[in-house]
Subunit: 364 residues, 2 copies
């Protein structure tokens, strides 16, 4: 389900490692500081929660989080970028609420994210995450499935035991989000099995929104709930996180084709070589152009020498890159409208804006 590129194929990029022409350093610095602060307040809560798990489950989870090596010895692990907890806590602050009261909820959202990562790796047979062998390759498929199941339960338990008046509404929202994440992943698995001409752009956009946008939107909405915001503002915050997530996915897909391998950490065109139906590819296939037809032919035939260059060119000529970039801009505009609806004061909204820009631009 939704995952940031930096958490999958390559390791966490430096937050300030930004190309020329990217937003001015202060924005990146603000985001980096928000992420660092979120990590610092949420990680002790996460560790406490994980300590409550029975021994065998705990071992798998501690390995997954990078806190332990496979043999159970301590590791100086990097849990991930804590983008979702940062969205929860920054949304609380933006609405004038006290952050500490929402740390449990922020940890619960991060546990749900990690539950989906554990299960996604099993389903996608991904062997590496955060530069380390995935949990299922170390402990087996059953243990990875069970650790994910336990993390979902743990997240809900934490919310059910959290005395904050917003915790029950947050639990309902997070559970509804999990249903959406699962449906998104299910559609993704199904789409990858279908022929290139049997996939529509609307389907792929809806799938990406469910897989990547939903939990980011939920994180912002949970922050709104914990700050005591009204229903309309909470929905607007959800739109903000959701649309920013979709913008991220569009940009990530562009990078997956035209990105600099030295920066992205994956070989150029890797997505194309595995015939991935990423957003620019599906847009190109649906373009009705000669280049789109050529792309369909290339995707339907076995991989040959020289195919990669031709495929990249076909996606570009069919308008896949332009479409993805303008779609990403459109999604960011929608995100901004959601944000200003929920938090009209630009200064108060600054932290969330910085996080959204960090997420969508830093790897551009």
């Amino acid at each position: 389900m939704g995952e940031f590129m930096t958490e999958t194929k390559q390791g966490p990029a430096e937050p300030l490692d930004r190309p020329e022409g990217a937003p001015s350093p202060p924005v990146g610095q603000e985001a980096a500081a928000l992420l660092e602060r979120a990590r610092a307040s949420v990680e002790p809560e996460l560790r406490r929660a994980v300590e409550s798990l029975p021994g065998p489950t705990r071992r798998v989870v501690r390995y997954h989080f990078g806190w332990e090596h496979a043999d159970g010895t301590p590791a100086a692990g990097h849990t991930g970028k804590a983008i979702r907890p940062a969205l929860v806590l920054t949304a609380v602050t933006a609405l004038g609420g006290p952050q500490p009261a929402a740390v449990t909820a922020a940890a619960a959202v991060e546990l749900v994210h990690n539950f989906t990562l554990l299960h996604d790796d099993v389903m996608d047979r991904d062997a590496t995450r955060r530069h380390r062998p995935t949990a299922w390759t170390v402990f087996g498929v059953a243990d990875a499935i069970l650790a994910g199941d336990a993390l979902q339960a743990l997240a809900q338990r934490m919310l059910a035991e959290d005395p904050h008046p917003a915790s029950t509404a947050a639990a309902a929202r997070l559970a509804a989000c999990v249903v959406e994440l699962c449906a998104g992943q299910q559609v993704d698995v199904a789409l990858e099995r279908r022929g290139p001409d049997e996939v529509t752009l609307d389907e792929v956009l809806a799938m990406a929104e469910a897989k990547t946008g939903a939990l980011l939107g939920c994180a912002c909405a949970v922050g709104g709930l914990y700050a005591g915001a009204g229903e309309g503002d909470i929905d607007a915050l959800d739109v903000f996180g959701r649309e920013a997530g979709l913008a991220f996915q569009l940009i990530d897909d562009v990078i997956g084709i035209w990105g600099d391998p030295g920066r992205t950490g994956k070989p150029a065109g890797a997505d194309l070589m595995v015939r991935k139906k990423s957003l620019p590819v599906v847009a190109a296939l649906a373009s009705g152009t000669p280049a789109g037809a050529e792309l369909a032919e290339l995707y339907a035939s076995p991989y040959e020498e020289g195919h990669l260059e031709r495929t990249v060119l076909a996606v570009e000529r069919a308008g896949g890159r332009d479409w993805a970039q303008s779609q990403a801009a459109d999604r960011m505009a929608r995100a901004m409208r959601g944000l200003s609806r929920a938090i009209p004061d630009p200064e108060a909204a600054g932290g969330l804006l910085a996080l959204a820009e960090f997420v969508t631009r830093r790897s551009n």
Copy 2:
């Protein structure tokens, strides 16, 4: 995780299909009526909840519940025996609470049970459940995992949206139970991989308690919560369901070796032929008797003609059958003590007692 024999290998047995010497008909009739009433009140709630799932997820779940065939056409399915919902609702009544207020919670417990069945079938590669191909064999492993994930989320969502004052405590209890179920299943998978001499009786008992007892205990405790019972009574109800569940597992394991295949629906000695470390087997292995040593040897060597009879005899001579039967009686006694602590009035406790007897004796 915990599952009743009638839901796995063979189909649902008739509740009144009971051998000579079993409890008097009225008890079985009372249990059958309680199960039927629970099914009638919970199934509409289950169907409503499942209808709220996105299309692709809903399809897998509707198939799993037996409401649809694999092609999506309606089926006159049998959802299962509804033992857990019946325990929730009967506990509520026993404590003088109104049953209708707890129907959502009863449905949530049943959803959790079915989430574990979907995942267990994937992990154990079981091909049949309730006389039908398991969901993963029809829709694939990914869809079955995701449908299970979604059912866990749906259960928590229902409790989070349930306005009953006990719903939050029930959500916490159910989530904690899921963690225990997962740990039990994890230990089970691990034990099956270990050599027969590397498994202790305490480990297998603890595993069976977590896998089979925990959710039955939780169902009773949730009923107690919804009836407004005090903490001590709720814990006593948990003990009742948990110990009755363990008694059931012990008896089920005995039947798996010495049961009448015509009644159990599985071939005699099937568990032994796959070298299953069931409770009577582990007791026999741990007995320190010559028969126990012979059993260890048989379990360590490849299956040969005549081995089955020798294995059955070795478990019996090593005291495995006697131990399991006296252990089951002991567990039922503990269950009864829990019940009478929570509900001292025998008349009020009658329904729960009938369900426990139904569960543990009907297939004896």
